[in-house]
Amino acid sequence: MKNIKRAGLALFISIVSFTSSHVSVVSFEQLKQEAALKHNDTLYVVNFWATWCDPCVKELPYFQNAYKKFNTRKVKMIYVSLNSLKDLPKVEKFADDNDLKPKVLLLNASDPNVWINGIDSSWSGALPATALYRSGKKLYFHEGDFTQDKLNDLIQSKIK
C-alpha cells in the first residue's frame, strides 16, 4: 500500500514536472547545472522574476530584445520564475503569451535562506535580480531592474 502511494506520488510529481514543454520545475542544484556549471563559451543571462512582480514583467521584453539582438549561440537567457509551485499554470500561460525563450524555469527550492546566498551573498531577496555566468563562473550580479540600454551594454561588455 505504501509503495503504491509512493509510486502514485512519484507519478504525480513527474506529471507536474514534465507536462509543460515551456516551463520546467527545477531544484536549486538543477538550476546551477543549467546556468552556472556549463563549460562552454555561452554567456548565460539568468533573470529572476515572478508574474506578480511588476518591475520584473516590465523589464522582461528588454531581455527578449537583447536575445534577438545578440548572437544566440553566444548568449542564452534563462528566465527563473520564483512564483509558487501552485502558480505553475499561470507561469506557463505567461511564458506562452509572451513567447519567453529559450528557457523558462520555475525554481522550487525550500529554504530560501540558503539558496539566495548561493546565487549571491549581496542579494537581499528582492525581485527582480539578474546574474551572468560563463564557463562555471559568475561574471556579474545585479539586484534591481534594467533599462534596455544598460542591459545591452552589460551583455556587450561580457560577450566573448
Partner: protein, 199 residues
Amino acid sequence: MKKLAIMAAAVVALTSFTSSGYKVGDKAMDFKLKNTDGRMMALTSLDNTKGFIVVFTCNHCPVAKAYEDRIIALDKKYAPKGYPVVAINSNDPSQVPEDSFENMQKRAKEKQYTFPYLFDETQTVAKAYGATCTPYVFVLQKTGDDYIVKYIGAIDDNRDDATQTKNKYVEAAVDALLANTPVTITNTKAIGCGIKWKS
C-alpha cells in the same frame, strides 16, 4: 598619492557600508510616522515594551499578503510579552496605487490589525533601516533609551504554507530575547517584492 587612494577607497567602503542600512548589533533610530488612525506615532509612543517587531510590509505584494495572518499572529503572541508588531509601508503609491495611505487604512480595517500600520511617505525609515523588500523584519530590543537590532530578515522559511515551516525565525529570535539568551539565527533572507523607491 598611494595614501590618497587608500583614503578614497576607505571613504567608498564607508559610504557603501552606511547606505546598506543596519546590521545586527546597531542602534536603530526612532521615527515619527502617520498611523492608519491618522495620528503620528513613534516607537516611544508605545508603553510597557521590551522591544519591537518592526515589519516592512505593504498591501499589494503577494508575498506580504501571504504573511499577513502570520504578522497578526506575531502581534497577538508577542505584544502581551512586550514585543508588539509595528508595520511600516514604504512603497511609493504613485507607482503602486494599492499601497496608498487610504488603501492602508482600508486593509488595516478589513484585517482588523491589532498593531500600528505606518506610512513611511518619505521612505527615510526604510532607507535608514536598510529594508529592501516586503515583508522584511527587524527585531529591536530596548536597552536603556536605545533600540538595538537583534534580528534582520524573514519571518519564517515557508512563504507558501505556514503549517509547513521548519524555522520560525522571528519567533525564535523574540523567544531568545525574552529568555535572556543569545539569538541563534540573526540574519535570514527570503524572496520578496522590492520596495518601490521614488525616482
